[in-house]
């Protein structure tokens, strides 16, 4: 039975086309996933179903929910449908809840807004029951909790509770797990799946993560630049991809690179017994301040030529460790040294050591000063050199670095806003390469990129390994990326390294329970080598 039907939906904002002739349907109890890269229009499709579009949007076509044409209803009728017949879950659980209301108030609001006859007490009882259903039992999570007292995953459960409190027939989930850790992601996905099965509720899922799609969906809709390029039953589509874009997308998603073999030599980076603590705000006025150990007695080493991964979930201390290695923060105890010299000595970062390291950050938009040109941006590390190249030598270094990352020397005179996200990440790599560092840290360097761009950057890294004999530490939460781009891997949890070893052996035979949980929770693409080829 068809629950939701979108017929020939086109949408434009101020004459710029966003969606072009979208037709799809969701049945009761069915999970349909819309997938695609950024700018594909998948989120706009979800908002169109909710009829919560930005001002200035013109639409044509129809959206039909159970014989009611949503595109023709007036605002009061739509308000009755939203929250009642359609629930929606958003990407950012941190900001999707009102910070000044309790979770109880926010869940009961859904109930009472649609039916004033429900008493406050009755609404509360139903809120308790709904929170129970999403895994937030009363004894641990009373209605009086405020959002800031919950973790990201718990907040997302509250958002889901708000969306399903009235048992809507359709639930729309827009990237519901993108902001969450991999283990939490697994739990939330299972919850959504369970809710859809229990109530015969249709679930329209928007996600960029193809592994999630393959794992969850009954049907897949692939979108690109506002158009549907392909849709069909999950199993059928995965085995019989027709459109080249679909094939490219799935191929890029499971992209593997082959790193040149290495012959590890002497140790380059040595981390010994490192502890980094933060002071916590005092809970009582005269109590001694408590401390939080973000990095707890961590030791490891990287030999010259090695490519090492560091994986862990948010808050595990991997960012703190990165900052300590870069000499940005002083550690409380332990030693970090490069080629035997400590990165921090006498309370000051050691510049001789710093010039041996460079870093590539996650955010391709925030890691460049918007007011400088590319040549100035990528030569910033020259500041570390006693005798930085000048004149033609400088130009030559710039040209060489840009060419190495697949850009042209002409790009040196442009400003950063003239580049796409993937190009910016190339520039960030050029900046890291320009002083020929001994060690590069990649801090979630491909996490913000679309899969197709990510595949290109991974290829670039493999090429650079060949050309420059890179040694790097690749910090990431994404297991599939770490698996292909590193020789050895460290698994971090609560400030400690719980497991380390050869990448392949850790992934194939994880010994620590946490590593096992991590690997088990990560959704995996089925083997599609046949279908993609």
């Amino acid at each position: 039975m068809t629950l939701l039907e979108i017929k020939n939906l086109s949408l434009s904002i101020h004459n710029i086309d966003i969606l072009d002739n979208i037709t799809l349907s969701v049945g009761a109890g069915e999970i349909v996933a819309i997938t695609g890269e950024s700018g594909s229009g998948k989120s706009m499709t979800a908002l169109a179903v909710m009829q919560l579009l930005p001002k200035g949007v013109t639409t044509t076509g129809q959206i039909i929910l159970n014989d009611r044409v949503l595109t023709e209803l007036d605002e009061p009728d739509l308000c009755n449908i939203r929250g009642n017949d359609i629930g929606m879950v958003f990407q950012e659980p941190m900001s999707a809840l009102n910070p000044v209301h309790t979770i109880g108030q926010q869940v009961t609001e859904t109930i009472r807004i649609h039916d004033r006859s429900v008493s406050r007490q009755e609404a509360k009882n139903r809120a308790v029951e709904t929170l129970n259903r999403v895994g937030l039992p009363q004894d641990q999570f009373p209605l009086s909790r405020f959002p800031h007292e919950l973790s990201g995953g718990q907040r997302q459960r509250v958002v889901i509770a708000m969306a399903i409190a009235l048992r809507p027939r359709l639930l729309i989930a827009d990237e519901p797990t993108t902001a969450l850790d991999v283990t939490t992601q697994g739990q939330i996905l299972n919850l959504l799946k369970k809710l859809a099965q229990e109530g015969g509720m249709g679930l329209l899922m928007i996600t960029h993560d193809l592994a999630v799609v393959a794992d969850m969906a009954d049907r897949i809709v692939v979108m690109r630049a506002g158009k549907i390029v392909e849709q069909g039953d999950t199993n059928h589509l995965l085995q019989n991809m027709q459109h080249p874009y679909t094939k490219m997308l799935f191929a890029a998603s499971g992209h593997q690179v082959s790193l040149p073999p290495i012959t590890p030599k002497l140790p380059l980076l040595e981390v010994k017994g490192v502890v980094r603590e933060y002071r916590l705000p005092r809970t009582k006025i005269f109590s001694t301040p408590r401390t939080f150990r973000a990095v707890n007695d961590v030791s490891f080493s990287i030999r010259r030529g090695e490519r090492v991964g560091l994986v862990g979930e948010s808050g595990c201390g991997k960012s703190t460790l990165t900052r300590a290695i870069l000499g940005l923060d002083q550690v409380q105890s332990g030693v970090i040294s490069v080629d035997g010299a400590p990165v921090f000595s006498g309370g000051h970062p050691n510049l001789d050591v710093r010039r041996k390291m460079q870093v590539v950050f996650q955010d391709p938009f925030g890691s460049f000063n918007p007011r400088h040109r590319v040549d100035r941006l990528i030569t910033e590390p020259f500041h570390l050199l006693a005798d930085p190249p000048k004149g033609t030598a400088r130009t030559r270094a710039i040209d060489e670095a840009l060419l190495a990352v697949g850009l042209t020397p002409q790009d040196a005179n442009k400003y950063i806003h003239e580049f796409s996200g993937g190009q910016r990440q190339r520039i960030a790599i050029a900046r890291a390469l320009i002083i020929r560092p001994d060690l590069i840290l990649f801090d979630e360097a491909v996490s913000a990129l679309d899969v197709s761009v990510r595949a290109q950057i991974l290829d670039l890294l493999a090429e650079l390994c060949e050309a420059y004999n890179l040694t790097y530490l690749f910090i990431s939460h994404d297991l599939s990326v770490v698996r292909t781009i590193t020789d050895r891997v460290l698994v971090m949890k609560s400030g400690k390294i719980v497991e380390h070893g050869e990448t392949t052996s850790v992934f194939e035979n994880p010994r620590h329970p946490y590593t096992r949980a991590l690997i088990a929770a990560a959704p995996v693409l089925p083997d599609l080598s046949q279908a993609i080829a």
Binding site: L326, L328, P349, L351, R354, R355, M357, Q358, V359, F361, Q362, D363, G366, S367, F368, N369, P370, R371, E380, P381, F382, H383, L384, R431
Partner: protein
Amino acid sequence: MKRNLFIGSALTAVFILAALISFVWTPFDHAVLNIPNKLQTPNGTHLLGTDHFGRDILSMIMVGARTSIAVALVAVGIGMGLGVPLGLWAAARQGSWMDELIMRGNDLVFAFPSLVIAILITAIFGAGAVNAIIAIGIFNIPVFARITRGAALSLWQREFILAARVAGKSTGRISVEHILPNVTNLLIVQGTIQFSLGILAEAGLSYVGLGAQPPLPSWGRMLADAQTMVSIAPHMALVPGFAIILMVLGLNLMGDGLRDYLDPRLRVVRA
């Protein structure tokens, strides 16, 4: 909207031009008393009328613009000159005792409205335009320190600052090279707003006798003179009042226009 910027800059330019011209020419000598001509309403000879001593109001407005603009401009200079470095410094050392000291000091200065500072200064040194400058200037310091620190703090979180630190640059150098250029727009816009507030504050201080002293003409004192005459010669109150309103309006429109032009997301404070 470009319109705001245009109207605002035009209004501001008119007053600055009038102030500059007054150095070489005014329709009449603003200081010469001419009792027989007193209390004329605006007419062909005296375009904006005369006051109770027969002085030409247009000439007084032109010369008074000098005082207003000079006081407000220098006060903005003091506020920026001290507030911006303090704000940059506090942000660079976020959470340290230095940051805490600067911010608590700011809070303390905020507890002394410029009028109160003017009262204190006048009580000791006597009244004068310089006191007005100092009083308004001191009050401007925490305004600039706060907005600079706020904007700088969010910049310090950005990865390009981290990249500069990885390149071994010192906090001072990063503040000047990366932070300052990225807060300039904000400072320009806030500077225009403080300029307009300075014009208002100068008028208020002069009105109660804590600002410019005779014979230095000022819009605030013209209003003080007009007060007793308001029922028989309303133009004496209306003209300087409109001068203040138009000048402040011009600056504010210019500030809004500049913000929209430079960066609509800038957070400026107006209090």
